[in-house]
């Protein structure tokens, strides 16, 4: 079973709908006992960073502990940004600190937010992208991005007039800046890959 962490904000339903659509057992909750039993966790995110972090509250410690204990974790959009050390969206906020780096504004000189479908180069050694080829379009909607400063982290890159980390992986910890649940068939395949790697590890 995949647990989508419920922290009472934004569009978390779409992620659950997408997992259900591909035939996965999924539950939306923030209860520690259920999180512990899950094969994998998804930290969704549609909110401003500070609001998301404070809404996550107590669940933050459980999510962090599970990830450090080896349970696969997938952060999506702001949930992905929360994997890093800190963010500067509307003030300075601390993240979960699972991956080294900070979340900073997209540099000016282009349309912001970065909103729409962009091409992501998919590294062969990231199992999140199994069977998806070398590059695919995914849907992005964000004004901040993570400057990854962790040498142990694999990165999938995209080009928005500068080099943007579209997805990362550090051992069992995964994060995607784009929205797989909103990236059509390609995105659903990423979620299927995540579900499969969770099953394999559990």
């Amino acid at each position: 079973m995949i647990v989508v962490i419920d922290y009472n904000v934004g569009n978390v339903k779409s992620v659950c709908n997408a997992f259900r659509h591909i035939g996965c057992d999924v539950q939306l909750t923030s209860e520690a006992a259920i999180i512990e039993k899950a094969a994998g966790l998804v930290l969704p995110g549609v909110a401003a960073f500070g609001f998301a972090v404070s809404a996550l509250g107590k669940a933050a410690a459980i999510v962090k502990q599970s990830a450090l204990g080896g349970k696969p974790l997938l952060g999506i959009c702001v949930g992905y940004q929360m994997l890093f050390e800190r963010s500067y969206e509307y003030g300075e906020h601390r993240g979960l600190g699972l991956i080294g780096g900070n979340v900073v504004p997209i540099p000016p000189g282009r349309t912001i937010p970065h909103m729409g479908w962009n091409l992501v180069k998919l590294p062969e050694d990231m199992d999140l992208f199994t069977d998806l080829g070398n590059e695919k379009h995914f849907y992005f909607a964000h004004s901040f991005f993570a400057e990854v400063a962790d040498p142990e982290t694999k990165i999938a890159h995209t080009d928005y007039g500068f080099d943007l980390a579209a997805a990362v992986q550090k051992a069992n910890i995964y994060g995607v800046q784009f929205h797989p649940e909103k990236s059509g068939k390609t995105g659903l395949k990423v979620l299927r890959n995540f579900a499969e790697l969770c099953e394999k590890r559990s």
Binding site: G10, N11, V46, A48, Y90, I112, P113, G116, H179, G184
Partner: protein
Amino acid sequence: MLTKRIIPCLDVKDNRVVKGVQFVNLRDAGDPVELGARYSQEGADELVFLDITATIRSRKTIVELVEKVAENVFIPFTVGGGVQTAEQIDAILRSGADKVSVNTAAVENPSIITRAARRFGNQCVVLAIDARLSKTRKGKWHVCVKAGSQPTDIDVVEWAVEGEKSGAGEILLTSMDADGTKAGYDIELTRAVSDAVNIPVIASGGAGTLDHLYEGIVAGGADAVLMASITHFGNYTIKQMKEYLAGRGIPVNL
């Protein structure tokens, strides 16, 4: 490179998709859930659902419809029409929508944009502007509210700039003069707004041919083009639109 987006728009009235000309003479165009799912499968980049009755009748927004759509649509979609409070925005997002568009409420109380952006992030907040060419000020457009039924004296370009400053993440710019005419987007309006702001602008109102889409993007400077009549009534498929644009050098997600 970021691709240009093709966005079918579903105007919803009493749980049916409808389409009119210049906001009146509505024609039935099908079931919103079925049509949304079909466009999603056909490769649309995004969808917009506008509850066109909500503002006038002060009805609450279409949360139940949003839930049904979200179970079947795995591309982003925006919901608008009669949204008045941050609580309504929260309810719509929690039901499965990705963005909420605000028009009348933003004019009546501009702080709704700022509050929603701070809470949900700028990318969730779309400022919808219904624009009419001004009869008194040459080369200017004024903002209309209440589903287009009430003109204001607010200048469209100034309002768009204001909206960006307040925290809107995108502008859905509809030319009421061009809406449903299939005579092409209002290019001057689209260009005036897209030059004035740094956030994405969706051109809306008037798409009738494939060339109009190209013109909206190239001459109008739009990041995305929205259409209703030409898709609902079967003139062109999403694929035809994208192949045409790709053939003329526009980056699209084919």
